[in-house]
Amino acid sequence: MSVTYIEAIREAQETLLRNDPRVFLYGQDIATFGGAFKATKGLAEMFPQRVFDSPISEDAMIGLAVGAAIEGLRPIVEMQFADFSSIAFNQIVNQAATHFYRTGMPIPITVRLPSGGTAGSGPFHSQSMEGIYAQYPGLVVLTPATVSDAYHMLIDAVALDDPVIFCEHKFLYRWLKAKSINGDLLPIGQARIIRPGKHATVVAYSAMVHEAVRAADHLQQDGWNIEVVDLRSVKPLDIDTVLASVARTGRLLAVGEAFPWGGVTAEVVARVTEEGFHLLDAPPQRLNARDTPVPYHPKLWAAHRPTPESICQALRKLLTF
């Protein structure tokens, strides 16, 4: 018996619907069809009148969720792909994110973004938007990398009073399996040392955690002990855990799947150097996707994002500085 990352997300939604009458689900093709990725499979039948197919209106979908939150509900909105949240961008960053600061009334909505690249998905079904949303005050941006986190962080996300951008990685949906949804539970806002080490720290999140662990395992053969930190949440960012790790290793590589300008890796490196400059024995490094749209062809796609190989290469450079 095993549970996949997507099943964990489905389970979490089932649990939420069961335990919290304030929760409802809204999104394209999520009722009868169970969602483009089957994250809501069977839920419409189990919870009639709590799971709704929406029109193809991302802006209005978030507007509806904000309105429902004002009235005391806790909507979970599924974007069919993270990339289509660009249509809801205004409602997310200007309506939902500013509401608490402006009015004192929080907007507890959870927006699920099927994120990240998979082979053959192309420029508009592959994007990683965490670094976009994290720039805006008033949003919590979560990026679970494990089956257990996919489940528990979604539960936690809905419990938060603030709007949460929940970035699920499509590549992990079926590829990532665990014995159960149980795992070591951490609160939202705390990073996890997913692989301890002492020679260098790799900070990663979402699917890149697994690529980083692979790279670390590979370098182990050469005697390098690489520590991998899974951020879990990119906003808030648990810089203390990162600093503590860098204090042990003296070396930092930040890895992300998003485009290379700005984003999570820049924030991590800037925060670490600002607050932990003296801890560093070598220039902190970053590894991101390339500065082009995400290409369609699997051969191009595989060279566009960081891979265990390119992470190893970056680490070797860092370790031998």
Binding site: R50, S54, S57, A60, P75, N94, H99, R102, P236, D240
Partner: protein
């Protein structure tokens, strides 16, 4: 009442006969609407003077010429039950729906005791807990929010008898948000009342650069919702048509759209002299002042006397004066005591960090 309220406007989708016992039958309602119109006008005149005297930070946006539409809506809605999401030119509707004058003056003057505490200003105010959601500037964005509020109430089993109303201008009808919001409300058959105040201009842009249909009410059928056209300068017409639209929404007939034709009797904001509005437009039927029309209608129909109206004017001028004076003497926000966080959640791990941002001496 009869047909004059619909004069010269095609009404392709008015699928009920014209109202028979018109607005005149409800004298208290009309007096109440008129009072809100007057209150709004006097308050806004004061805001305009304050702006010109440099006493207000940022812009001032008036609803002059739109009071009949807005106040009718605000009066016909039930406080504590209905939802009203006002937009730029809805001072009259806000007043009618029970928003205290102080909310307005405090927000314009930046008192920390106002509902926005100096964090947002002018027309960007409301009390979401009392059914007045707070607009963001992005036009069209409130339609789906009101739809969501109604949707939630249905799920909660407390929708019966409620309607949610919001207003937009002619310009806002060109936004994708407006379209998505109405369509969604129509699909969900929500009791949404949408007032389109076609004041012939969006900032400086005339209708013919904004849309190409003969009248925006023609959009209603395409959404599968009720559609009404009304002369927005005519209080009696507004009273009939808007109350009817609300009645139908409340009755479960789904969204209702009322397109009111009128003219913005001010600049876009008080910084704008509206030089681009042609004289013919000012001089035509819809250029008349709805407040004058309303006064005449009330007096001619024996609903109020000129003397009464004078007394009201004096009383309101006094009220307004007090609301302004009060807000002016209140404290502005203090950056040192401001709670600089956009999140309701206090993440325990982040307490140290939230102290980090630079303090400005």
């Amino acid at each position: 009442m009869g047909s004059h309220c619909l004069k010269s406007i095609p009404v392709p989708h008015l699928d009920m006969p014209p109202f028979t016992d018109g607005a005149l039958s409800n004298r208290d309602f009309l007096r109440s609407v008129f009072l809100s119109m007057l209150r709004a006008r006097i308050l806004e005149n004061k805001l305009s003077s304050l702006y010109k005297a440099g006493k207000i930070f940022g812009g001032v946006y008036l609803g002059r010429g739109q009071e009949a539409v807005s106040a009718t809506l605000g009066t016909a809605l039930i406080q504590g039950t209905d939802i009203f999401a006002p937009l730029i030119r809805d001072q009259a509707g806000r007043t009618a729906f029970g928003e205290p004058l102080l909310d307005c003056t405090r927000t314009y003057l930046g008192s920390v005791q106002g509902p926005m505490r100096g964090r947002d200003g002018n027309i960007h105010r409301g009390r979401p807990k009392s059914g007045i959601p707070v607009m963001i500037s992005h036009l069209g964005s409130q339609v789906s929010v009101v739809a969501g509020m109604l949707f939630a109430r249905r799920l909660q089993g407390r929708l019966a008898g409620c309607v949610g109303a919001t207003c937009v201008g002619d310009g806002a009808t060109s936004t994708g948000a407006f379209h998505e919001g109405i369509n969604l409300a129509a699909v969900e058959k929500l009791p949404l009342v949408l007032i389109v105040a076609n004041n012939q201009f969006a900032y400086s842009t005339p209708n013919h650069r904004q849309f190409a249909c003969a009248d925006l009410v023609e959009r209603a059928r395409g959404y599968g919702i009720g559609g009404f056209a009304v002369d927005g300068t005519d209080l009696l017409a507004c009273a009939s048509v808007i109350t009817e639209a609300i009645r139908r929404a409340r009755q479960g007939l789904g969204p209702q759209m009322v397109v009111a034709r009128l003219l913005r009797l001010s600049g876009h904001g008080e910084h704008d002299d509206a030089f681009y509005v042609p004289k013919e437009v000012c001089d035509d039927h819809y250029g008349r002042d709805c407040l004058d029309v309303a006064m005449r209608q009330l007096v001619e129909n024996g609903i109020a006397t000129p003397e009464e109206i004078h007394v009201w004017q004096d009383q309101i001028a006094e009220e307004v004066q007090r609301a302004v004076a009060q807000a002016q003497q209140e404290t502005p926000p203090d950056p040192y005591n401001e709670d600089w966080t956009a999140l309701a959640t206090r993440f325990p791990l982040l307490v140290r960090q939230s102290a980090t941002p630079p303090v400005c001496p």
